[in-house]
């Protein structure tokens, strides 16, 4: 047997011993967690993850939709504003020319007619721009909706943290300071069944309305 071969087989022995040890530790950890009921804590923490994922997806979708909505409105409004400015500039320079040499009356008559036409259509066009400004304003309603969902998310993360800290403290008593810090900033999630914020995943839920028409129908059914 060469020197190299013996070293390699010693390594193998060490490795399998190490794997055995890790296996035993994992088994011991698993058993003690179950004895202490901590496996349930970890399970609860894991269960909160899909909910958090749904909320994050809702935030991503809602903010994207709001940005698209605002940008679309701006893209509609900008050319309207540019056209208004161009037409005003062209009328203004035609008036300048006429004032420099106020001779031809037929030119002036046409200019007056064009100017009156421009003024007549101005309110209609500023109304159209205002409608786009309104659209941009309404697009900002995302902040209230996502803000509420972010608040819920913070609660979920705090809950996951507290469940994981319980597990940590059981196995590492020196980590108890984590628990104290966490307890200090717990805000007492009220668990009020009526304070749920926006529905991040309303599809297939029968206890939830998805639009104003359903609200109106329900109120009518109830006789309000």
């Amino acid at each position: 047997m060469s020197h190299n071969q013996s070293a390699a087989s010693a390594d193998e022995n060490n490795n399998s011993e190490l794997i055995d040890r890790i296996g035993q530790l994992t088994r011991a950890l698993h058993d003690s967690m179950r004895e202490l009921g901590l496996d349930k804590e970890v399970e609860k923490a894991a269960e909160a993850i899909p909910d958090a994922r749904d909320r994050l997806a809702y935030i991503a979708e809602t903010t994207e939709a709001a940005a698209e909505r605002a940008l679309s409105a701006i893209e509609v409004a900008q050319p309207m504003q540019e056209r208004l400015a161009e037409n005003a500039q062209s009328l203004s320079s035609r008036w300048d020319t006429w004032f420099d040499a106020p001779i031809d009356l037929s030119d002036a008559r046409e200019l007056v007619a064009d100017t009156r036409g421009y003024l007549r259509h101005l309110p209609e066009q500023t109304r159209a721009t205002n409608a786009q400004l309104h659209e941009i304003m309404m697009a900002q309603d995302f902040q209230d909706l996502t803000g509420q969902v972010v608040g819920k998310l913070i609660t979920v993360i705090r809950r996951i943290e507290s469940q994981l800290v319980e597990v940590l403290v059981e196995h590492m008593p020196e980590a108890a300071s984590y628990r104290e810090r966490r307890e200090a900033d717990i805000d007492g999630d009220s668990g009020d069944g009526l304070l749920n914020g926006p529905q991040v995943n309303a599809a297939g839920k029968s206890d939830v309305v998805t639009d104003q028409a359903q609200v109106d129908d329900l109120l009518e059914e109830l006789g309000f």
């Binding site: 309404m138 902040q143 209230d144 509420q148 009526l194 749920n196 309303a202 104003q212």
Partner: protein, 129 residues
């Protein structure tokens, strides 16, 4: 449309939403608009006695919209005040609870300007405003 001088109180903990509602009311021709950021602050402003129409969110710190509504309905001086709930709470039990507590209307977020106007007009009609 009701009297342009009608005194509104807009209650929401998110300032962006208060601004949106305020701007919508302005677009509809109303200019007397006060704001409160939760139910407790709103009740303080209501005690002044000059508010004629309340538009309120539900989920707010300190005093939420539903509890504020219940307090308004329990107060002899305020109980006839129109209160329109504008909220993201979309569970059927929420709508039922708000109706039972005496909400004058219920608008679910996100909403359109047309929806807000329609619900307000209905309430104006009912209250003779």
């Amino acid at each position: 449309m009701a009297d342009a001088d009608l005194q509104f109180l807009v209650v929401d903990d998110f300032s962006t939403m208060r601004r949106i509602v305020r701007n919508l009311l302005k677009e509809l021709g109303y200019h007397n608009i006060e704001e409160a950021e939760d139910g407790a602050e709103a009740l303080g402003k209501l005690a002044g006695g000059h508010v004629q129409f309340v538009i309120s969110d539900w989920n707010m710190p300190n005093l939420n919209g539903l509890d504020m509504l219940k307090k308004i309905r329990a107060d002899d001086g305020l109980k006839h005040l129109p209160v329109l709930m504008v909220t993201a709470e979309a569970k059927k039990e929420n709508i039922v609870a708000a109706a039972q507590a005496g909400a004058s209307g219920y608008v679910v977020k996100p909403f359109t300007a047309a929806t807000l106007e329609e619900k307000m007009n209905k309430i104006f009609e009912k209250h003779g405003l």
